[in-house]
Amino acid sequence: MQGFIQRNPVWSLLIALVVAVLLWLVFAPWSDELEEVLGRKRVFLNAIFGGITLGALYFLVASGFTLIFGLMRNVNLAHGSLYLLGGYIGFEVSEWSGSWFLAFPVVFVIVAVVGLILQNQVFRRMEGEELRQTMVTIGLSVVIADLMLWRWGGQSYTIYAPDMLFGPMTLPVISSVRDSGEIVYLKYPAVRMAILFAAIVIGVGMWLVLNKTRLGMLIRAGVDDREMLAASGVRIQYVFLAVFAFGAGLAGMAGIVGGTFQSLSPGEDTRFLLASLVVVIVGGMGSIPGAAIGALIIGLSEQLGLVYAPTYSVVFTFLIMAAVLAFRPQGLLGERR
């Protein structure tokens, strides 16, 4: 952080300015003139919170993708299929058992096992052959997508959140001030706050595991120099299996989350694959903080775009990606190799 500020004083000033303006817009009550320019504050706040929540969901999907790529150089274009598969299985489990929370461990285990099979049977056979991996995983995603279409059909499913998380909750953020001087606070769906909270916990947990534990040390060493790690006696294939299973399971759990606050239907797999592609390209391949920042930027731009320029909101994300590529091809937090 300090190093970054010293190296890029202008950029850090700009970033600090943008963050300060955003924070002020969120917390300060808006004057009438401002509302005239930007519209109602409630709309803006909803877009911001929606963007952050969407970013949390993107982070859940993309962090597994970026971890797998960073460590193993495996290009898993079937990652979106794992997401959708997790969502469908989560729907079945929560319907069958009536418990939303039970779906998470079940889906994590099932999709992680699918990931284990993928890594052990597919990727291990073609280590280092990126192009072949791409082709094979594209083929796999086509097959899995059609199998899921066969089993679950073309309609869309929604997973219902438990009663505990049902309904809105009040946030300590001023939405508007009535003429009578009464302050109205923002109401926001509780389940989304729970998702946001869970994503932050998972993100911090991943950061802690990666930076403070022995396993994390192994993984980071593997990202930096795989051959050297293997030469020093670590059974690297087990580390690979563990990371792949974890990333896949995370994508599966993200499927439940996505099925709860959006919906599950065929085509969502490519949507989330593309989202995670864009997120890791913007954030930098193989970097967890990069995935977090990328997910936040993409989620915010999508939601803000939806409110203020509805026609082209989808195009914004790709414009951001093109800009990042043009000026910083390795991604915001990526390292040049």
Binding site: V136, V142, L274, V314, T317, L319, P329
Partner: protein, 349 residues
């Protein structure tokens, strides 16, 4: 010693003799096809094969000779198709300008080539797998943009009634003329790719593919060669795109949707990306599967909708066991046959 050795043949064989007999046979079959095939085969199967083959050929050129797997080719083709619909005539009178054909075809090709070049200039900043991801992301951006934009691309519904011009008194959308039109264009594009691959530019490009640093050290501008190859491939893809929109008589965002983009990759890989004939073989296999697999599936008591599964499994098996496609299978089979007869001993191994 060198003097005693007789020259292989005093006269160089003419180019006619150098082409193997099988090519002449193929040419004969293709040229006489309208005489013995029905309209459905001509228009739907062969016409579509040539069109998809041309678009996949542009991918093959980039991937095989340039080492860059670009998924943007379908979008470039669709861009050319859109330009034909916008500058030419279509059922959407508000947007289409109705220019004459000799104006809108060059405009469409040029605009599509510029689009492909700009994307290529972005994509060559990256390598290998990143190129795939970036071109895939831009291709989907193109899809979403055409779906949302109503002023130029007419949004969700796209353009209908886009037909080829009535030239020389021939309706080019009739099966036989359209067959010869696509055959001619495919032949031209094939010849162009073969020619360029042996021209200095193509050889330099293959050098860039194999070792960019060495080529840079030799004084070649690596980036310029890569971007130029995108331009060349875009021209081929745009010709394919124009023919595609004429065949369907309509164009919509779904023409360049993500499944279609992936299909082009599948076609090129199934056929094999080492030789220019590969994409056409792949396209023929794809079109045959696409056209007839519902019947086959129904005959086995399965639902005809499972065609994607069949294509996906076939593709998966192929890339798993033969990364260089059907051509690779064929070459390996020939190599095995050739090995069986040892030329020195004459015996079998």
């Amino acid at each position: 010693m060198a003097l005693a050795e007789p020259r292989k043949s005093a006269v160089q064989p003419t180019w006619v003799e150098r082409i193997p007999a099988i090519w002449w046979a193929l040419l004969l079959v293709l040229l006489t096809m309208p005489a013995w095939a029905n309209d459905f085969i001509l228009f739907q199967v062969m016409g579509w094969t040539f069109v998809l083959g041309m678009i996949a050929l542009s991918l093959m050129f980039l991937a095989g000779y340039g080492g860059m797997v670009s998924l943007i080719q379908m979008s470039v083709a669709a861009m050319a198709g859109y330009m034909v619909a916008i500058f030419g005539a279509s059922g959407v009178g508000d947007i289409s300008m109705g220019l004459p054909w000799w104006l809108y075809i060059p405009i469409a090709i040029v605009i599509a080539a510029i689009f492909g070049t700009v994307v290529g200039a972005l994509a060559v900043r990256t390598e290998g797998i990143y190129t795939i991801m970036i071109t895939l992301a831009i291709a989907s951006a193109f899809f979403y943009f055409t779906r949302q934009n109503y002023t130029i691309f007419n949004g969700y519904s796209g353009f209908n009634l886009v037909v080829p011009p009535q030239l020389f008194g021939v309706d080019w959308r009739q099966p036989m003329p359209f067959y010869y039109l696509t055959l001619g264009c495919a032949g031209l594009c094939y010849g162009a790719v073969v020619y360029v691959s042996r021209a200095p530019f193509g050889l330099a490009l293959q050098g860039v593919r194999d070792n960019p640093r060495r080529m840079a050290a030799l004084g070649f501008n690596v980036t310029a060669h890569r971007v130029a190859s995108y331009t060349f491939a875009s021209v081929i893809a745009s010709i394919g795109g124009i023919l595609l929109v004429w065949q369907n008589a309509q164009i919509a965002p779904g023409t360049a949707g993500i499944p279609a983009v992936i299909d082009i990759l599948v076609i090129a890989v199934i056929g094999g990306i080492t030789r220019p004939i590969g994409p056409f073989i792949g396209a023929l296999i794809y079109v045959l599967l696409r056209t007839f697999s519902p019947d086959v599936l129904l005959a086995f008591g399965l639902s005809g909708e499972r065609f994607k599964l069949l294509v996906g499994l076939g593709f998966l098996a192929l890339v798993f066991f033969s990364p260089d496609g059907v051509l690779g299978l064929w070459e390996r089979w020939r190599a095995r046959r050739a090995r069986r007869r040892d030329p020195l001993t004459g015996g079998e191994e």
